[in-house]
C-alpha cells in the first residue's frame, strides 16, 4: 500500500479533482445530451424519448437561425476588428513611445470590467437620447444619427463595438508580449539590410507571431460562443430577436419558455461548434510540441 502510494502520489493527489471534473463536466455534458433526446418541458424527464426530434425542431426554428447566423456574423466581425486593431495598437505601443504604460493601461482597463458593465456602458453611449448622438449634436452636427441599438440591421455592430472595446486590451497585450519577445538582432539585421520597418513587420515579424495569432483566435472564438451577458445587458436580444446569440436562445428556451429539450439540443450544437474550433487547435499544438 505504501509503495503504491509512493509511486502514484501525483495520481492520488489529482484524483479528487479528476473525479469532480468527470462528474460535473463530462457527466453533465452527457446528461444534457440525454435531455436533448427527450421531450422535457420545465423539468428534465426521461420517460418520453423522442430521438433527434428536438434537433429537427431546432433547425426549423427561425429564431435559432437568426441566433446561429448572428454568432458567425458577430464573431467574424469581432475577430477581424479586434485582431487587426489589437495588433495595430500593439505595434504602435512597441515603437518605444513615451508614456507607454499610460497607453497600455488605457487599452487594458476595459478588460477589468465584466461584460455586464460593458454592456450597460455601451447601452448608454449608443442611446440616441443620452450618448454619443447627443454629444455630436451638441457639437453642431445635427444630422448625425447613431441608431445601432434600434435598427435590426445594424444592431450587430453595437455588439461588435462593445465586445471589441472589452477584448482589445487582451489581444493587444498578447501581441505586445509577442513583439517584445522578438530578438532585437532581427531588427538590427533588417536595418543593416535596409528593409523598411513596415516590410519587416509584414514579411518577418508578423509571420513570427503565428502562435500568438492562434492563441488569440481560440480565446476570442471561445468568448464569442460564450457571449451571453453582453447581449443581455446591451440589447437583450432586441430589437425583436435580431441580436440573439445561441447562448441567449438556450437560456430563453430553458428558463423562460420551459422547453428544456430544445434548449439542451441547442447546447449540444454549441458544444459541437466549440469542439470544431478547439480540436484543430489542439491538433496543431500537440503536433508542434512533438
Amino acid at each position: 500500500m505504501r509503495r503504491f502510494l509512493q509511486r502514484h502520489v501525483s495520481q492520488v493527489a489529482l484524483s479528487p479533482s479528476l473525479a469532480l471534473i468527470a462528474i460535473f463536466l463530462y457527466g453533465f455534458i452527457a446528461y444534457t445530451a440525454a435531455v436533448s433526446t427527450t421531450n422535457s418541458k420545465a423539468f428534465p424527464r426521461f420517460d418520453n424519448f423522442v430521438g433527434l426530434e428536438q434537433y429537427w425542431r431546432l433547425f426549423h426554428t427561425p429564431r435559432w437561425h437568426v441566433a446561429f447566423t448572428n454568432m458567425f456574423l458577430f464573431g467574424g466581425l469581432f475577430l477581424l476588428i479586434t485582431i487587426l486593431l489589437g495588433l495595430l495598437i500593439a505595434i504602435l505601443i512597441d515603437q518605444r513611445i513615451r508614456a507607454e504604460s499610460f497607453f497600455r493601461s488605457i487599452v487594458m482597463y476595459p478588460m477589468a470590467m465584466s461584460f455586464v458593465v460593458t454592456g450597460i456602458i455601451w447601452q448608454w453611449l449608443l442611446n440616441p437620447t443620452l450618448g454619443i448622438e447627443v454629444m455630436v449634436h451638441q457639437l453642431g452636427f445635427t444630422s448625425f444619427r447613431l441608431d445601432w441599438l434600434t435598427n435590426p440591421d445594424t444592431v450587430i455592430w453595437a455588439l461588435v463595438v462593445a465586445a471589441f472595446w472589452q477584448g482589445c486590451g487582451l489581444v493587444m497585450a498578447l501581441f505586445l508580449a509577442g513583439l517584445r519577445g522578438i530578438d532585437e538582432d532581427i531588427w538590427k539585421a533588417a536595418a543593416v539590410d535596409g528593409i523598411p520597418a513596415w516590410r519587416v513587420y509584414v514579411f518577418i515579424v508578423i509571420p513570427m507571431l503565428a502562435p500568438v495569432f492562434l492563441t488569440v483566435v481560440v480565446l476570442l472564438s471561445l468568448s464569442i460562443v460564450r457571449a451571453f451577458d453582453l447581449v443581455v445587458a446591451l440589447t437583450n436580444g432586441g430589437p425583436g430577436v435580431s441580436s440573439d446569440l445561441p447562448s441567449v436562445f438556450m437560456f430563453d428556451m430553458a428558463f423562460r419558455r420551459t422547453n428544456l429539450g430544445l434548449s439542451a439540443a441547442s447546447a449540444v450544437v454549441m458544444l459541437g461548434t466549440v469542439l470544431a474550433i478547439l480540436i484543430p487547435y489542439l491538433y496543431v499544438e500537440t503536433r508542434e510540441r512533438a
Binding site: D183, D185, I186, K188, A189, A190, A191, V192, D193, G194, I195, P196, R199, F203, I204, P207, M208
Partner: protein
Amino acid sequence: MIDIRISNCNKNYGSLRVLKDINLEIERGEFIVLLGPSGCGKSTLLHIVAGLDRLTSGAIEIGGRDVTDVEPKDRDIAMVFQSYALYPTMSVRSNMEFGLRMRGKPMAEIRPLVEEKARMLHIDHLLDRRPSQLSGGQRQRVAIGRALVRDPRVFLFDEPLSNLDAKLRASMRTEIKKLHQSLGTTAIYVTHDQLEAMTLASRMVVMKAGEIQQVGKPEEVYHRPVNLFVADFLGNPGMNFMRGHIRLDGGHISADIGAAILPLDGYAFEAAPADGQAVVVGLRPESIQPISGLTSGGGAFTLTLRPTLIEHTGSDNLVVLAMGDEEIVGKFPTDMLPKLGEPVTVGFDLGRLSLFDAESERRI
C-alpha cells in the same frame, strides 16, 4: 588607405560612459579584432560603426565619407550577429536574397550571386530549408552568406562563433580567415575569445571599460603589452607577475624581486628607470622552462626552484614552482617533467620579459 576612421568617439547611456574618446584608424583590407572583457563596450563600438547606435559625440568615416549621421543601410556595411538573426519565416535562399531585393537589384542578377556564395560556404544544398531546420554551424554560415552576397565595403562580426561548440568554432575560425584572405574586405570582429583574436587579427584592439588599451599586431600585443591589464588579460595560463624594484649600479640595471635579482641590461626600456622604482616583472609561462629546453637568445638566466604542483593539459604541462613566498607557473615539455618537491633548475627567457611600473601599471 584609411577605410574606417573613428574619431573622438564617445557614447553615454544616461550618466554611464560606455565609450570614452575612442580613436581608431583602420586600413583597407585589415582584419581588426576587438577584444576585451564582458561589458567593456565592444558591441557598442561595433554598433556605432554600423549605425545601429548613435554616438554621443565624435565622428565615423567609412571609405573617406563622413557617415556619422548616415543610416546603416547606406553605410555599405554588412553585419553578422551572435544570435545569427536570420529571418525565421523565410527560407535560406530568401534570407540571402532579401537585402539585395530591397536594394532593387534585379532577380536575374541575385539568383546566380546567391548560389555562388552558397556554394562557397557549402550551404548550397540547404537553400530551400528554413533556419529552424539547420544546425548552429549551418545557421552561422547562412548568416555569413547573407552578409557576403551584399558585397559590402566593410564586414562587421559580433561574436559570430560564440554559440558554437569548441570544435566547430575552430573550423569556422579557419574558414573565416580563408574567406578574408580571398576577399580582402575590411572587417571588424568582436570576440572575447583570445584564440580567435590571436589567429584572425591583422591588428587587435584590446579594450577595457570603454577605453582602448592597446592596438597592435597580435604578437606585439602578446609579447609587449602596454600595461598590466593587457598583460594579464591575454594568455592562458596568465602571465606570471613578480613584484620588486629597480637597482641601478655602475651602469648595470637589474630588478630585485626578493628571491632573485634579474639582470635587465638587454631590456628595451620605454622610459628611463629610476633606482628603487617599484616595478612588476611579467614573464609568460612559456618563458619559464627547464634549462635544456629553453630557446637561446635574450640571455638565459637560471634559478633553482622547487616544483609544488604539476598540471597536465595534454600538449603541455604546467609546473607550479615556489619562489620565495610566491608561486610562478612554467610550461614544461612532457619528457622533461621534474619530480614534485625535488628542486629543479629552470631557465628564464629574459628576452621575453615585460616590466611595468607598480604604480601607474604601465610598461616601462
